[in-house]
Amino acid sequence: MENRTILEIKNMRKSFDGIEVLKCISLTVHEGEVISIIGPSGSGKSTILRCATMLETMDGGSLMYEGNTAASDESGSIVYADKKTLKKIQGYFGLVFQSFNLFPHYSVLKNITEPVVLSGKAGKEEAKERALTLLERLGLKDKANAYPASLSGGQNQRVSIARALAMQPEILFFDEPTSALDPELTGEVLKVIKALAAEHMTMVIVTHEMKFAREVSDRIIFMENGVIHSQGTPEELFNSDDERLKAFIGKLEA
């Protein structure tokens, strides 16, 4: 069974100040797939997500969402689609940041509803209903009128997941969603992501939580020095003989 292709990255390259931090990254994500990206710090994991979500412009390769070309190589230089196409493509994906990046001057409710209303995805009433349903599901029903500063890190991250989900993206990216949290708060966030995986939400998750990655992923990608060093099912990767992979996983599990 081959599901619809949501995201297709081909030969993505990115340099910062002349140093190539992504070298020829290719990645295809199908509907309902959960992919984890692991690898040492500085290997380029965030940069992949930032290029895929157009927070960074890539230097080479192509980026496509549901058959719509966002960027492609044309005779050696990268060309991005016109504004209208990019705006449409912007609606296909969501991103959950390590540091939440909630809007501190908005209530939890407004954090979730305003983007939905501004993007024209729903009217005020429907956006509010959506937000309250999501908050209830994520166990934050009583926090609708609270401000982010009054919530714990775990609650903030769940709000930011609700904010991304309210936009009803086709694919959701997570960049180390639990790395800024106290250890006792990571569980509540991982639980939410696991529940989304059970509902077959298409997700790409950068994480250092090996046990979680193993449980939740259909496929795991191991990054090193700007290249995909290896990839496969959790079983394949966790039982691999590859020295570097073994060393990396061993270090985190120890």
């Binding site: 927070l55 991103l95 990046n101 809007f103 501190p104 001057h105 305003e114 993007s119 401000y147």
Partner: protein
């Protein structure tokens, strides 16, 4: 007169300062260099000197008699000066907003104007209110500089009365006036700060 200078200067210099701040932070090197120079002049020379230039230069340099435009000239000089100070305050506030706020807004589909006016600027206002209060209090006191320019301004009148009655009483009255004026300003700004303290 003081009140008029005060209010009009605030009215003009607060928005102007924001524009100046944008110029100062512009990626266009020439624009940002020119604006930086303007700010340096405004902050590096006494306001009194700037007022004298605006007040007398048209007459001494060009032989123009602009006596009817003295009040507008003073208000322009005040506004252009205070815009420079406010610009640096805005800049500090804008630079204090984490990059992640812009990135979250972008990923959620906010355009540039929506990002600035809905996400960034409200947070900037909260950050800069104490500095704006300080500047506003200074402005109240600076309005007395108009005195040297023979404005029909509080101290001037007070001095005339004082000379006539050979008493320091009126000067005391003027002092009390400025103190009360600033007290009211500080009070209003404190209320605004409290209002902004909802998150």
């Amino acid at each position: 007169m003081s009140v008029e200078i005060f209010l009009l200067t605030l009215l003009f210099s607060l928005p102007l300062g924001l524009l100046v701040a944008f110029g100062r932070m512009s990626k266009k090197k020439i624009l940002s260099a020119v604006v930086k120079f303007y700010i340096a002049i405004m902050r590096g020379t006494p306001l009194m000197l700037q007022l004298i230039v605006v007040y007398f230069a048209p007459y001494y340099i060009f032989g123009l008699n602009l006596s009817g435009f003295r009040v507008p000239a003073i208000i322009i000089a005040f506004s252009v000066n205070y815009a420079a100070y406010f610009a640096e305050i805005y800049r500090g506030g804008i630079e204090a907003i984490p990059k992640g706020q812009y990135e979250a807004a972008q990923v959620l589909g906010y355009n540039k104007a929506q990002t600035f006016f809905r996400i960034i600027f409200p947070q900037v206002i909260k950050i800069i209110t104490p500095s704006v209060t300080n500047e506003t209090i200074t402005l109240v006191k600076d309005t007395s500089l108009a005195f040297v320019l023979a404005q029909a301004e509080m101290f001037t009148i007070a001095k005339q009365i004082a000379a006539k009655e050979a008493s320091v009483g009126p000067l005391m009255v003027a002092g009390v006036f400025y103190f009360v004026f600033n007290y009211v300003v500080a009070f209003v700004m404190e209320r605004i700060e409290k209002k902004l303290d909802y998150y």
